[in-house]
């Protein structure tokens, strides 16, 4: 069990009568690249929200590095090493890229409580920001305003901000959503190049993209666990072909 970093133990999330996530159990090993797939409405993002604490589970347990975090607020979970990106771009549009990065870094440091201190980044903060920006291939745009970035660059910044605090678990919610094929390649390369000690859980619709990035796949349907396996298993699983791949191809 020491290899396990995140465990979901019969997690359920209910909104009134709707079971958005219904009795899902998962075990993610440290350093693993895990994809969670499923058609729209399968409960993928809700599951993310349960892991990050945005929506606390109504039943079951979430355990991170042996600690029961089921009811901890989001900022505590961030403190313990969980970081995420958002499906719908969620940045600070009126600030610069660098300021976005500073906020991302200071979330876990006491400097966020400096009331009268200089706003300039310390050397350490700067190095940390630059390293995350370089990983996300955004270093050249560090001094731009967020609302001057292209959409693709904003998605890259999403990743850079999630990387900045050096998380141990990174949750990527459709990192390539809405991108052109060329931009998808950039994002895929960024994810592929991320340090191996970061555990990554990824939601993605683009099957070709996702299956090339991960080593284990969990498939949800209607909030319930459907199947899991290696990318190769998933490609050949008839159930998944039916509920998901077929549909997805139609939509595409």
């Amino acid at each position: 069990m020491t290899k396990s970093i995140l465990q979901l133990d019969h997690v359920g999330v209910r909104f009134d009568a709707l079971r958005a996530v219904d009795d899902v159990s998962l075990d993610v090993r440290r350093g693993e690249r895990r994809a969670i797939i499923g058609p729209n409405g399968a409960g993928k993002t809700t599951l993310f929200n349960a892991i990050t604490g945005v929506v606390p589970p109504s039943s079951g347990r979430v355990v991170f590095e042996g600690r029961n975090i089921t009811h901890a607020p989001p900022h505590r979970r961030a403190d313990w090493g969980i970081s995420r990106t958002f499906q719908i771009t969620n940045l600070f549009p009126s600030l610069t890229v660098r300021q976005n990065m500073e906020l991302a870094i200071r979330g876990l440091t006491p400097r966020k409580f400096s009331f009268f201190g200089s706003p300039a980044a310390t050397d350490e903060e700067r190095a940390q920001a630059d390293s995350a920006l370089t990983l996300s291939r955004l270093a050249a745009r560090a001094d731009s305003a967020v609302n001057e970035l292209s959409y693709g660059e904003q998605r890259q910044l999403e990743i850079a901000m999630a990387l900045a605090p050096n998380p141990r678990l990174l949750l990527l919610d459709e990192p390539a959503a809405g991108l052109s094929p060329a931009e998808r390649v950039i994002v895929a390369n960024i994810i592929r190049a991320l340090p191996k000690d970061i555990t990554i859980v990824l939601i993605e619709h683009d099957m070709d993209l996702v299956l090339s990035l991960v080593d284990w796949v969990t498939c949800l349907n209607n909030g319930q666990f459907l199947a899991e396996g290696t990318p190769a298993d998933i490609r050949n699983n008839a159930d998944i072909q039916n509920v998901y791949l077929g549909k997805a191809r139609h939509h595409a």
Binding site: S83, F86, F115
Partner: protein
């Protein structure tokens, strides 16, 4: 005063060349110091009033412009300080400086109570909740006649001798307002200030980055209440009288309008807003009894043609011009 501003240069919104900023600040300082030498005494007291209300408007801007929480309860926090100062000196016979300290303390505590009740809401709910809390304070001042004097209010005992006349009081207020402004400027341009702007832009992102959003808003609200309390204590010395009209809703609205007119999120815009509104009030009311209408129309026009406020508008124009110039120099 030059240092913090040049340090603030990386801030994107306020990216003005430091040498220009120093020039502007120096000019403003000279103008403010020289003002009593050229203005008649009544205009000096109007300017004093403008300075005091600028602090109140800035305290609102800290929350509204940086934390994204528009409040309608700050008139009550401001007025609570005024009440305490006058009650302490005139009714209890206490010393003026203890009174000022107590006034600011009470305003800060009141702000803490408001904050505990309101920070978990946002948008129109926050607006209405702070409005309701302000109304409770107003009701209390109106009904608790044995302490507050009810409708008739409380009369002060006047200022200490050395700041009794208009001009020395003006300088005394200036001497307080300048460092308070500087402190607020540092505050909104500190790492904590950046946190507030992050909260304004996206609370969900801030939470996932490890920020305890309600805690930060609580601190911002209390700090803002502290600054409003300073303004309220100065107002007690200025007005030498307090009644429920000092804590009523229209006080909160007027101060918010000053912040908005100057430009929310610009901090120093509050000086422009307070000057415009107070000067307009005084000039127009000398000519027509319909002055509230004139004020209203002016405000509507500002909202249509410069919704980002006067200072906000100027900044946009300046940055456009800078961009045009830099693109021209490239060609």
């Amino acid at each position: 005063m030059a240092t913090p501003i040049s340090q603030a240069a990386p801030s994107y919104e306020a990216r003005t060349r430091p040498s220009h900023v120093v020039g502007w600040i120096a000019l403003a300082a000279v103008a403010l110091i020289a003002l009593p030498l050229v203005l008649p005494s009544y205009q000096v007291s109007i300017t004093t009033q403008i300075l005091i209300f600028s602090v109140l408007a800035m305290s609102i801007d800290v929350l509204a412009g940086y934390g994204g929480r528009t409040t309608l309860g700050h008139g009550a926090i401001f007025g609570a300080s005024t009440y305490v100062v006058i009650y302490w000196t005139a009714v209890l016979g206490g010393g003026i400086w203890t009174g000022v300290a107590l006034g600011i303390l009470c305003a800060t505590l009141l702000a803490a109570v408001f904050a505990l009740l309101a920070i978990r809401t946002s948008g129109v709910y926050f607006l209405l909740l702070t409005l309701a809390l302000g109304m409770i304070v107003w009701g209390l001042c109106l009904r608790w006649t044995s302490v507050t004097g009810g409708e008739n209010g409380l009369r002060g005992i006047g200022r200490p001798e050395f700041i009794a006349d208009h001009i020395s009081f003006y300088y005394a207020v200036l001497l307080v307002v300048a460092p308070v402004t500087w402190a607020m400027w540092r505050f909104v341009h500190s790492p904590f200030g950046l946190t507030l702007r992050g909260i304004r832009d996206s609370e969900s992102r801030m939470r996932s980055l490890g920020y305890n959003v309600p805690l930060h808003l609580f601190i911002a609200f209390v700090a803002s209440g502290f600054f409003a309390g300073i303004a309220g204590a100065l107002y007690a010395l200025f007005n030498n009288f307090v009644s429920p009209s000092t804590v009523q809703l229209s006080q909160s609205v007027a101060a918010l309008l000053m912040a908005i007119t100057g430009g929310v999120g610009t901090l120093l815009g509050s000086f422009v807003g307070a000057t415009l509104i107070i000067a307009l009030e005084n000039v127009v009311s000398a000519f027509t009894a319909r002055w509230p209408t004139v004020l209203g129309v002016t405000f509507v026009l500002i909202m249509i043609f410069a919704p980002e406020g006067v200072v906000g508008r100027v900044r946009i124009l300046l940055s456009r011009r800078r961009k045009r110039q830099s693109s021209e120099s490239l060609n």
